[in-house]
């Protein structure tokens, strides 16, 4: 298996290379550049041209690309034009926020989805099952930003239960309990929003797995041996049905990154998604390319992770 994993990593290299080429060329097609936004009557156009020249933006794209990839291979993604700091440092700050948000989201996601999926599967075709299916269809159909805006308005502003933006209150010192709690508190509402929106596939998967498993021979055998139904569910059916869900984890992480663009923008949560959107607006090339590369890498990593988990939980599956 280790060999396979290594091979998968090696395949990632050309994939990422093509991605970097694509994003680099497409970024050049965008009208304007990082300095377009600085035009005011107070700025000297000659100075802007000088800065463009200094930044190498007047060179042909392949020269710029060559320079960029050379530096990137050494771990240097350049400096953000807007934030005037190392891209790696800038993304590092934001990535940590996104990471924790995703982590809490995933936990909440499983807390909501697994019991619902199990109940729906166990009592299939009951009123309970039908209402769970209805719930999952509704959450599947509702666009991310709609639910996010509704939640923000209702729980944030109307009921005042949650903070409505940011990642932490300024009065706490890092390292204290208050600081950690404040961070957690700020992440809760976006995480709940995300979790609710992401439950559909897990509920559906789990439900159909359980319905399938109920008809399996081993269940009948267990039942005929006189094992109580409750135990059959926890010991036999649940375990088997959970396999694909575990494998889903990798893809869930990938999905979180896409969702983060909406969630973070609406909840003004300073993570990678929000950074991505604002850097596109300001044509902050170095940040855009670095983020797309990171997203690309994480997506590939997520699918690899799924395969690995699958092979661990289900010995019948071998990744070759």
């Amino acid at each position: 298996m280790w060999k396979t994993i290594l091979r998968r990593f090696l395949v990632m290299i050309p994939q990422l290379f093509v991605l970097s080429l694509l994003i680099f060329v497409m970024a050049q097609f965008m009208p304007g550049d990082p300095f377009t936004g600085s035009i005011t009557p107070d700025t000297d156009p000659a100075r802007i041209e000088e800065l463009r020249e200094k930044a190498g933006l007047n060179d042909p794209w392949y020269e710029q690309y060559g320079r960029w990839i050379g530096n990137a291979l050494q771990g240097d993604f350049g400096k953000s034009y807007t934030y005037k700091m190392e891209v790696s440092k800038l993304i590092g700050e934001r990535a940590l926020n996104t990471f924790w948000l995703s982590f809490i989201s995933v936990i909440l996601l499983y807390i909501i989805a697994i019991p619902l999926g199990v109940l729906a599967g166990r009592y299939s075709n009951s009123a309970l099952d039908k209402s769970i299916i209805l719930y999952s269809f509704v959450t599947y159909a509702i666009p991310t930003f709609v639910l996010a805006l509704i939640f923000l308005y209702f729980f944030g502003y109307k009921l005042n239960w949650f903070p409505t933006g940011g990642s932490v209150d300024v009065q706490y010192d890092p390292g204290t309990f208050g600081y950690a709690w404040s961070k957690m508190y700020h992440m809760l509402l976006p995480a709940i929003t995300y979790a609710i929106l992401g439950t559909t596939s897990i509920i559906q998967f789990l439900r159909s797995e359980i319905i399938d498993a109920k008809a399996q021979d081993y269940v009948r055998t267990a039942r005929s041996k006189g094992i109580p139904m409750r135990k059959v569910y926890t010991r036999h059916i649940f375990r088997n049905s959970l396999l694909p869900i575990a494998a889903f984890l990798g893809f869930t992480i990938t999905g979180l990154l896409g969702g983060s663009i909406f969630i973070e923008t609406i909840f003004s949560f300073p993570g990678m998604g929000q950074l991505f959107i604002s850097s596109i607006g300001s044509r902050d090339y170095s940040v855009i390319t670095a983020l797309v590369m990171l997203f690309g890498f994480l997506t590939l990593l997520g699918s690899l992770l799924s395969d690995i988990i699958m092979s661990i939980v289900d010995p019948r599956i071998r990744i070759e």
């Binding site: 700091m85 944030g156 010192d173």
Partner: protein, 606 residues
């Protein structure tokens, strides 16, 4: 304090988030502080509102008994995190400038024309003959860490901006006006030869040319100090990322930064060493709030005021009982420009094209008279915008000329002018042809905003159709901010006319926007007469305010007559303030500083 320059960088950020949120169906998005160049629009009011602008004050009216100390909670309405570069020398983001208002290191105070006075930390005098500016600082001024202000602290910013490693936009033609700046930047000199320390409180700056812009704290003169005892030894290349700039900057203002959550919020505490005396508040907390939620947050009493609150959201706060709305004129105008030539980039000179589609000034004038700007200002902007008559916003107390008639709505006159000029409808389809009888299609470039911006654009097109002109949109729709300026600056042949906005900054000189070598002279209008007047406005003779005013007026009259650019709107910016706030003013010339602000209740009124 008010020499803040505005940067359009922020506007593109704001715009980008706007696109996302607009696409998300969020009903209204607005632009903020620092957004000079985009259209602000909003939903329609049903009643034809009167001029609200004149009913809003600039000062809080709260006269209650103040509490001891307290913390002012400020919402900074922004669509993206602030960048967090807390140095006037290095920042580029309008939000950072808003945050630095509380810690300001400005050394000059200014009057109603934004000219430096002697009231501030420093005062200056100009020797026009010798082309030398002398700057003298007050004694007894201290930094927030207790260190006394030295004359070196005023000299340091020049050494930073001029440094070869400096990568900002401030090393510009103005800065090169300082004797020795170019040699220092090229690395052939260790210091800027024109900048000399005379004694512990005095410095002199030798300039190549003197102009009245010096009094506006321009032409190379820098209006802020940097704490040399802290940052002198930090290499310029590293400065922008250094903690002394990002995390714990030392200040001269009424407050100093206590804590920062990068991109989100800043907590300030009062600066006991403030030279005007200890502030009355204990501190200030500023938090970034997206425009979509600013109004609700104010209603809930979460904040004492909102900075950069979009004027187009006026309807959401107008009836709030706990809020008082303050308003003041923005240093900006929106305009309609006509492409009259091209920029010869080789020679760096504007070349007018006598055969340009818009070359007939009567056509241009007619297009100006055809626009019902008055009605749009009232209906869409609640009267927070008004029709502009001049390129000098009314804020400039003595340079603005209220008597200029400008282009008021007069479709009859527009049609008369068109008939006279020979643009008549020959084939009877209701649309005028050009002088030779060929079809006339005028292509208008506009910037994309929200759906109301689109509605207003359609309204303009209708206005022009009413006088028989066929105006269509370049590319068929409004154009994204970056693309718009790319096209306009490149003299795209698809553009005949365009609508934009300029922030004027605090120097009323139109030189940078309308001279014959200005890249931002987008209409590419340059005549000898106009150039002569522009040069006169910035000439040493113009140190005489009357002379300057006379030349400005002559230039404005010329522009009104030639109409290469027609000013459209002046705008008011509004600041909603909770009713527990006392002694706060947004008047440009106020005597009330942030150190005077008080609160009259423990918590914001709900």
């Amino acid at each position: 304090m008010m020499t803040k320059k505005k940067w359009a960088v922020a506007s593109s950020l704001a715009l980008s988030s706007m696109l996302v949120l607009a696409a998300c169906g969020d009903e209204e998005e607005t632009t903020n502080e620092g957004t000079d160049t985009e259209e602000n629009t909003n939903e329609e009011t049903d009643e034809g509102s009167t001029d609200i602008g004149s009913t809003l004050g600039t000062d809080t009216t709260n006269a209650d008994e103040a509490i001891e100390g307290g913390t002012l909670k400020v919402a900074l309405v922004a669509q993206s995190p602030f960048q967090g570069i807390f140095s006037w020398t290095l920042y580029e983001d309008g939000y950072d400038a808003d945050l630095m208002e509380y810690t300001t290191n400005a050394i000059f105070e200014t009057d109603g024309d934004f000219l430096a006075t002697d009231e501030g930390i420093a005062s200056m005098s100009v020797d026009e003959e010798a082309k030398v500016v002398t700057i003298k600082i007050r004694e007894g001024v201290k930094w927030s860490d207790g260190e006394p202000l030295k004359i070196e602290d005023l000299m340091l910013p020049y050494e930073i901006i001029g440094h070869p490693d400096y990568t900002g936009v401030r090393y510009d033609a103005d800065f090169k006006n300082i004797v020795g700046a170019e040699e220092y930047n090229a690395g052939t000199a260790d210091t800027i030869s024109g900048i000399t320390k005379v004694d512990e409180t005095t410095m002199t700056i030798a300039l190549k040319e003197v102009s009245p812009a010096i009094a506006s704290i321009g032409a190379g003169i820098w209006g802020y100090a940097e704490p040399s005892h802290i940052i002198k030894d930090i290499p310029v290349a590293e400065l922008v990322e250094h903690d002394a700039v990002r995390l714990n900057p030392v200040t001269l203002g009424p407050f100093k930064i206590n804590k920062i959550v990068p991109g989100e919020s800043v907590e300030y505490v009062k600066n006991e060493h403030y030279w005007k005396g200890e502030p009355k508040l204990d501190g200030v907390v500023v938090k970034v709030v997206p425009s979509s939620s600013a109004a609700v947050a104010l209603q809930n009493g979460e904040y004492d005021m909102a900075v950069g609150f979009g004027a187009t959201q006026y309807d959401q706060i107008e009836s709030l009982e706990n809020i008082e709305i303050l308003a003041r004129e923005e240093l900006a105008y929106t305009y309609l420009g006509f492409k009259l030539g091209k920029m010869d980039t080789e020679a760096g000179q504007v070349v007018m094209d006598p055969n340009a589609k818009m070359a007939d000034k009567n056509l241009r004038k007619a297009m100006g008279y055809a626009l019902n700007i008055e009605e749009v200002s009232d209906v869409y902007y609640y009267g927070l915008r008004s029709r502009a008559n001049s390129f000098i916003p009314p804020v400039f107390a003595s340079f603005h000329n209220a008597d200029l008639p400008g282009y008021t709505y007069d479709p009859e006159k527009a049609m008369e002018l068109l008939d006279e000029a020979g643009y008549v409808d020959k084939d009877g389809d209701g649309i005028r042809e050009d002088k030779e009888g060929n079809p006339l299609e005028i292509r208008l470039a506009t910037m994309s905003g929200d759906d109301i911006a689109e509605q207003i654009t359609q309204y303009w097109l209708q206005n022009w159709a009413d006088v028989g002109l066929n105006v269509t949109l370049t590319t068929g729709r409004s154009i994204e901010f970056n693309a718009f300026y790319d096209k306009v600056q490149a003299d795209d042949p698809e553009i005949d006319i365009f609508m934009g906005a300029w922030g004027t900054g605090t120097n009323p000189s139109p030189m940078g926007l309308y001279s014959n070598d200005a890249a931002f002279n987008f209409s590419r209008f340059a005549t000898e007469e106009s150039q002569e007047l522009l040069v006169a406005i910035d000439s040493p003779e113009a140190f005489d305010a009357d002379f300057r005013k006379e030349k400005l007026l002559a230039w404005e009259e010329l522009m009104a007559e030639e109409a290469p650019v027609i000013p459209m709107n002046n705008r008011l910016e509004i600041t909603p303030v909770n009713k527990r706030v006392k002694n706060f003013s947004i008047d440009y010339t106020t005597d009330l500083g942030l150190e005077d602000v008080q609160l009259t209740a423990e918590e914001p009124i709900k």
